[in-house]
């Protein structure tokens, strides 16, 4: 289960799925989360089940992806 906490300036994301970090226009990073990892970011972030869902989300929202951050 993902948890997103909005703090003063940043969001703290914990969970174990794929995390898509973006600024509503550009893909910042695709991070394969682990159960114990935590992402701190000021950007928008989505937690998705699979890398395929990440790719579909990018297409659906027409996000620009200059590079793939994970193989």
């Amino acid at each position: 289960m993902i948890t997103i906490k909005d703090e003063t300036k940043s969001k703290i994301v914990t969970g174990k799925k794929f995390r898509l970090v973006h600024d509503t226009k550009n893909v910042i990073a695709v991070i394969e989360g682990t159960e114990k990892s935590t992402t701190h970011t000021i950007h928008e972030v989505e937690e998705l089940e699979t890398e395929k869902e990440v790719q579909n989300y990018i297409k659906q929202k027409v996000l620009y992806s200059a590079s793939i951050n994970d193989f």
Binding site: S10, T38, H40
Partner: protein
């Protein structure tokens, strides 16, 4: 005897026997795999007084007469299928080949026939395969996009290579000490098994991305000073961060995710983040990931993480 001289290239007044005699000089570096109506683009460079004929595999041909520099040549395929691209004439003098808009298949051995090639790019979902030892020896810039399956020891990469990007299920192996000395960017997806101490990476390397079961070892402080991208997964044992260390170049993408036991300790993770904050200014789009078997960070780096994130960088730790 497949490699005899094609008289058509030296005497234009003779009938071109290549079209009827399969033993004349030509190469077939790739197969185009278009869908119906797709247009294949080949961007080529060829010196003066050299001529290459492209047979697109569907009955169409195009003559390329040098000098040309990064000029697009196109062919639209009526039907979907697999079409061997054949090049005759002075194809060994081609210096640049970019393949765009249509997926291709092929091998490094077939590409190796273009022995004068220094610049190669294929965009799309390509499926090139083979040992990197067969790549053109003078290659300096090579980008393979798609689901490629390159293999072999990195010792055999072209010696003058300075950019190598290969996406797919590659299985490169070898000690990073043997990477080409002038390499500036190395990106290889798949199930690679690179090994060695990161101290021995090429000094001028600015980008390292390597997926797979690598077993790199060493000290984060010994990464090349100009490195801007560091992405490494696998059974690495990069387990030290020796301080004091000053970061003069920002690794805008820094992702270290080992799966083997080891990794950085909590104190090292904290100090790395503190140094990143003290020495560098981060910005939107930057990424730091220190997960896998690295230890969790502690509250000692809270302030540093807060500063880095406020500057726009996304930070992921255990």
């Amino acid at each position: 005897m497949p490699w005899i001289t094609n008289p058509w290239t030296t005497n234009p007044w003779t009938t071109n026997p290549w079209t009827t005699n399969p033993w004349m000089t030509y190469c077939s570096p790739i197969d185009a795999k278009p869908t119906a109506g797709q247009t294949l683009t080949l961007k080529l460079s060829l010196p003066a007084e050299k001529t290459v004929t492209i047979d697109w595999g569907d009955g169409n041909t195009t003559n390329v007469i040098g000098p040309v520099s990064s000029v697009d040549y196109t062919n639209t395929y009526t039907d979907a299928g697999t079409y061997p691209i054949r090049m005759s004439g002075d194809y060994q003098d081609l210096t640049r080949l970019e393949i765009k808009d249509v997926n291709v298949d092929g091998t490094t051995e077939r590409l190796g026939a273009l022995s004068g090639l220094t610049y190669f790019v294929c965009s799309g979902s390509n499926t090139l395969s083979g040992d990197v030892a067969n790549l053109p020896v003078g290659l300096t810039y090579a980008i393979f996009n798609g689901q490629n399956i390159l293999s072999g020891d990195i010792t055999n990469l072209p010696v003058d290579l300075w950019t190598f990007v290969c996406n797919g299920n590659n299985t490169l192996s070898g000690d990073i000490t043997n990477l080409p000395a002038g390499l500036r960017a190395f990106s290889c997806g798949g199930n690679n098994t690179l090994s060695g101490d990161i101290t021995n990476l090429p000094a001028g390397l600015t980008s390292l991305r390597c997926g797979g079961s690598n077993t790199l070892s060493g000290d984060v402080a010994n990464l090349p000073v100009g490195l801007t991208t560091f992405y490494c997964t696998g059974r690495n044992t990069i387990s030290d961060y020796t301080t004091p260390h000053t970061w003069t170049t920002k690794p805008a993408t820094f992702q270290l995710k080992p799966v083997a036991p080891g990794g950085l300790s909590t104190a090292e993770i904290d100090q790395l983040l503190i140094d990143f904050d003290d020495d560098l200014t981060w910005s939107s789009g930057n990424v730091i990931t220190l997960t896998g078997t690295n230890a969790a960070r502690s509250s000692a780096s809270d302030a540093a993480v807060s500063n880095i994130v406020a500057e726009g960088c996304s930070v992921t730790t255990n």
